[in-house]
């Protein structure tokens, strides 16, 4: 049997990567050694067989089908998102000039992004050597109740909780100031601290008369009914801006209110991460397939919950001003960019894996679900997903699993239903 080293040389010869001297050595070996000759002959013959395989052509006009699918699903090229910068150090061998360049770049990034807020600090370096400045201070702005923990909803755990009463305060609940000298370069993540005006996506309407503005805790049922059924009866999409004290707590309250109407929140991973860290963030919550009376009752319920919370403990009420606008084309465009899909364009063909099945479920379950859904018409009430995304100061990633999950679980809109884009801004956001 040929030594392994020789066999490697012979396969590299067939790969065509040897230098001239090595090739000559192989050719001499071929002439002098019968085993090497036979081995090489087989390898070359196998290579020829592979190359001789006929060229397979696609059976469909892929270009036409692809364009059709792009139009049908309203797909768009995703913007590049580079909000998260991971610093990876290779160790002590990193040149001082690279350190300086990265430090200067990080400082400039935060100086521009934060507009010089007092929360960003640059660490001085007493030794006088070049060092990475402190890049982020992470601190929950408002107190988190000791018996509540924020946990992201997992895609494979339907109905997962946004919060649970764990009874313990999370370890990362304490303020953390990260200073350059203390950074573990292999683990440091540099995260934008707070929303900025420059990154705001949803601008005020040019004509404020089109908006309905009120305080949620003072919401009168008649007023909202008039709004949604009379004044806005021709609208089928709303943008509802909710100014709140703390967007994280506000989301929890929204979740609790939605639960009563069998709407399940799917929280994007990055959004959940920011919630967990208590970072100031503006969120959107996109819900669709709601009937106008459901939306009315939902807003009433939300107002009621918030009133009760405020009555129970001063400062616990989250929502302040609410602004209701019809969704504008610019809002649709921004939403489409965030989702990667135009949500107003419904397609009968659901995104599917190559075999056209939901590979997350066993086939038997799907068959049973399909039968149940067809009997009930619109599916079980608990099936309506709503999507939560962070949009300022970070954007969702193009490959967000949660966005894909939401798009997979959407149902065809019922006649007369509305789409609602909630925009949550923390008071300091």
């Amino acid at each position: 049997m040929l030594p392994e080293r020789v066999r490697e040389l012979l396969t590299a010869y067939v790969d065509g990567v040897l230098r001239r001297r090595q090739r000559r050595a192989v050719e001499r070996l071929r002439q002098s050694n019968a085993e090497a000759r036979a081995f090489l002959q087989h390898l070359e013959s196998d290579s020829a067989l592979l190359r001789a395989l006929p060229q397979r052509q696609p059976t469909a006009d892929l270009a036409a089908k692809t364009l059709q699918t792009i139009h049908a699903r309203g797909l768009l090229p995703q913007p590049s998102t580079t909000r998260r910068v991971r610093l990876v150090w290779s160790g002590w061998a990193v040149a001082a000039s690279v350190l300086l360049a990265i430090g200067a770049g990080s400082y400039l990034f935060f100086a521009l992004a934060l507009g010089g807020t007092k929360d960003s600090r640059t660490a001085g370096n007493k030794s006088g050597k070049a060092a990475v400045p402190a890049v982020v201070e992470v601190r929950p702005r408002l107190p988190v109740a000791p018996d509540r923990v924020l946990r992201p909803v997992q895609p494979d755990a339907p109905g997962g909780d946004l919060a649970d009463n764990s009874g313990s305060r999370p370890a990362d609940d304490k303020p953390v100031t990260v200073v350059g000298a203390e950074l573990d370069p292999a683990k440091t993540e540099v995260l934008p601290l707070a929303p900025t005006a420059a990154l705001e996506l949803f601008q005020d309407l040019p004509d404020p008369r089109l908006a309905l503005v009120f305080k949620l805790r003072e919401l009168e049922p008649e007023k909202i009914r008039k709004l949604l059924r009379d004044d806005r009866r021709h609208d089928n999409a709303y943008r509802i801006e909710l100014d709140c004290r703390a967007s994280g707590k506000a989301l929890e309250r929204l979740q609790a209110a939605f639960r009563a109407y069998a709407v399940r929140l799917i929280v994007d991973h990055d959004a959940a991460d920011r919630l967990k860290r208590g970072l100031r963030t503006n969120f959107i919550l996109y819900a669709e397939n709601l009937m106008p009376d459901e939306l009315e009752k939902f807003l009433q319920r939300l107002g009621q919950d918030d009133r009760q919370a405020e009555a129970k403990k001063r400062g616990d009420g989250q929502f302040e001003r609410v602004v209701v606008n019809p969704m504008q084309p610019a809002d649709h465009k921004q939403l489409a960019k965030l989702l990667g899909v135009d949500p107003t364009r419904w397609h009968a063909e659901r995104p599917k894996s190559p075999l056209g099945v939901d590979v997350r479920k066993p086939l038997a379950d799907q068959t049973a679900d399909q039968v149940v859904q067809s009997l009930k018409g619109q599916g079980a009430p608990g099936d309506r997903p709503a999507l939560v995304l962070a949009y300022n100061p970070v954007r969702p990633r193009p490959s967000s699993k949660e966005v894909k999950l939401f798009l997979d679980e959407r149902k065809e809109p019922r006649s007369g239903s509305v789409q609602v884009l909630f925009v949550l801004r923390g008071r300091d956001g």
Partner: protein, 186 residues
Amino acid sequence: MSADDQRLITDCLRGETAAFGELVRRYQDRLYNTVYRLVGNVEDANDIVQEAFLNAYQALNSFKGDALFFTWLYRIAFNAAVSFKRKQRILLRLETGRGDGGNEPVDPSDASRPGHALERAEQDRRVQDALNRLSAEHRAVLVMKEIDGLKYEDMAEVLRVPIGTIRSRLHRARLELRELLERDEG
């Protein structure tokens, strides 16, 4: 990257979706052939390639132009194929491979030698069978090297592994293929 591809990408990012159609037409055959050889199934290859193009369209902004567009596209298609295989949890596809191998296109120049066409089809089926039986890693490098004609450097770029890893994988892949073909001949 060719100036023509760059122009099409720029047009596409400006909203001219038809430009992406042109890119698809340019690369669909080559990509399809590769994916077919990776997964050994006509329908799956069609679906995977389409999914790869859709993913590429959505990720177009992230293409930096520092590599060939086809290499970038190739990586997306390769990842889509690997992801598909993982979901399928199938490493050996004897039955599918045999079924599709029987549909290999026949070279019309062999029409004057009727027996030859059958022999050739049978040989191609055997080879595709053996390919299907290789481990995913080995199949990938052999397809890239022998069917796509990629260099080590390009393969390393697609698979995101060092060139040394490519060399050793190819070595083991060739040995494994030899073993499978010998077993079949025997």
